[in-house]
């Protein structure tokens, strides 16, 4: 590990710090200008509405850290939601059995991606582009694109609606996920090997690390996380449909990259990803509450526009500042 360079150290302002300042500015702005933004109910809304996307982003982070990408997680959410619906409704399994089977299905689907990427050495972008279509197609074929599974066990639906110690249940699940991925990436040898693979797969191999198995692991975890997200989504909406999670993979990638993880791998932090998730979640919720936007009813459109702008600013800012400081250095 000592042999690896630490390029983030050279920036006079770290990406995470910059992002945190942006998050702070954003929150302050909404706090003063957006209608009822800071109420306890609304904060609970922010968490509930972003938990699924946030979980996917957390799982996406180690994938991108290894220099890979997983475009299939949104589609896999749809497939897992449908599997859960079929098992509970058509096969009459108990909720507990169906939950277990859905999680297993997520693991398998993630494992399928992992096998193609790590062992057949196919490019992650192409593999997961394939399973992006494959998983969504399976979900749509199962439901003929029209069938919607409704009415679930009330205890299961509580996952989506109820609070536990003053916070929505999703907040606890998300916090557990964040802790898990933070420890995995920052405090284990596994996590260090993800980073090493992202820097240099060959070098990592020569260092005696089983690169194939270590590359596979983040995809399997992403599959499992997609299944968890699908269950939360189903519980929140009280229905399972094939189009669950459409576009979530892109939102997750946006949060990870906004959070400072390099799309080429090797650089990044889970807390950066957390700030990225928070910045997007707060923006989605807050912008629709700014009086002018509220009146015009264009919150959704503005949110996606501003998320894009935020991403570009966050990516360009450190490079621009480096240009400026370097320019100053040569002048003196």
């Amino acid at each position: 590990m000592n042999a690896l360079p630490a390029p983030t150290k050279r920036h006079w302002v770290r990406h995470e710090t910059l992002l945190l300042l942006m998050l702070f500015a954003e929150t302050t702005y909404f706090f003063y200008f957006a209608r009822n933004f800071g109420t306890a109910d609304n904060i609970s809304n922010i968490v509930r509405h972003s938990a699924e996307m946030g979980l996917l982003a957390l799982a996406m982070m180690p994938v991108i850290l290894t220099g890979g990408i997983d475009l299939s997680v949104g589609s896999l959410m749809g497939l897992c939601a449908v599997i859960f619906g079929v098992l509970t409704h058509d096969w009459h399994w108990t909720t507990l059995q169906a939950v277990a089977a859905t999680l297993l299905a997520g693991l398998f689907a993630g494992g399928f991606n992992a096998a193609l990427i790590a062992f057949l050495r196919l490019p992650p972008l192409i593999v997961t582009l394939g399973t992006f279509s494959l998983y969504r197609g399976l979900a749509e074929a199962t439901t003929q694109g029209t069938k919607i599974y409704r009415s679930f066990d009330p205890d299961f639906l509580n996952l989506g609606d109820q609070h536990f110690f003053a916070l929505p249940i999703q907040a606890w699940i998300f916090a557990l996920g964040a802790l898990f991925f933070w420890v995995l990436v920052h405090r284990t040898t596994l996590g260090r090997s993800f980073r090493a693979i992202g820097f240099s797969p060959e070098g990592t191999l020569y260092a005696g690390i089983p690169v194939e198995r270590r590359t596979a692991m983040p995809y399997v975890l992403a599959g499992l996380t997609a299944a968890i997200a699908a269950l939360l989504f189903t519980a929140r909406l009280h229905q399972a449909r094939a189009d669950a999670g459409t576009g979530y993979e892109l939102a997750a990638i946006t949060a990870v990259v906004l959070g400072g993880t390099s799309i080429f791998g090797g650089i990044g932090s889970v807390h950066g990803t957390l700030f990225g998730i928070a910045a997007i979640a707060v923006l989605n919720n807050g912008i629709a509450r700014v009086p002018g936007v509220l009146k015009a009813g264009v919150g959704g459109e503005l949110a996606s526009m501003l998320t894009g702008a935020l991403l570009l600013i966050a990516l360009a800012a450190p490079i621009l500042t480096r240009f400026i400081t370097r320019g100053r250095a040569t002048q003196t």
Binding site: L23, G38, D41, H186, L237, P291
Partner: protein, 338 residues
Amino acid sequence: MKRSQFIPALLALPFTLLMSCEKSSAPVGADHPKAAKKLTIAFLPKSKGNSYFIACEKGAREAVQELGAELLFDGPTNTDPAKQNEIVENWMTLGVDVIAVACENREGIAGPLKRAQEKGIKIVTFDSDTTPDARSFFVNQATPQGIGEALMDEAARLCAEEGEFAIITATLTAANMNEWRKFIEARLAERYPKMKLIDTKPCDDQKDKAQAETTNLISANPNLKCIMAICSPAVPGAAEAVKQAGKAGIVKVVGLGLPSENKAYLKDGVTQSVILWRVADLGYLTIQAAYAVGTGALEVGSKSIHAGKLGEIQIDGTSIILGKPFVFTKDNVDQFDF
């Protein structure tokens, strides 16, 4: 290195959250609708871009102007039940007085709507209902009986109450269409003894298949006088078949669909009548009902509502019925843009 950048970051996060929490104890801002004594009605279509709901919005805006209420109009860009739930949950925390919603997910949206009711927000549904316990009133655009009878009456008028006709439906199992067919056949038996329903064909809600089925019906039944298309893709599909068979005006086409989708065929004289309700009036009536519920003027048990320019509207239980469907013809179709 990791630790040095992580710890300040972690310390700052709760501070950010704490900052936003403070607001909850602060008094509500001056822009709160209650302070201005102006009723805020939030209006949620299934999707914003759909011309049907844009027409609804037009009527809704007209009504809020007359009533002096504030209108919030927002919805998913595409029909997306997840987004609908999120919008309702966000409106709940905004301090709106009434939410009017066309539900994409009947059961799924009931949870958020019930929680809104617990917070004292009144709920009115329109176009598509939720479960009855999650709203005060449902503004119903038309009853199955109204639709069935309007279709049959219009077909009979076009055929001078005599001759053979056929129905194109979506599927033979679609519950709403079977309900309409029941009333079509009842009306036929009751009023038009000289007319004969020779066939009912499904088109799976596809324009192409409706066209193929109509072509078959025309060639197999030389005495066919009218095609009645009761799902919206079937109306232009049937018209195209009649046009290509060179039977425009000889085989009449009547159907249930959007006037904009059938405008060209209406103008060409291939389709004679398209039946639907006045969509803008649906939005107008929804706001009138929402306002009356919000001010307490309308309560469960009321038998009618005075709805501005629409006059006195009857209430059946908890459903407010817009009235008889409207017939769009080549003469009036230009006045509508949905």
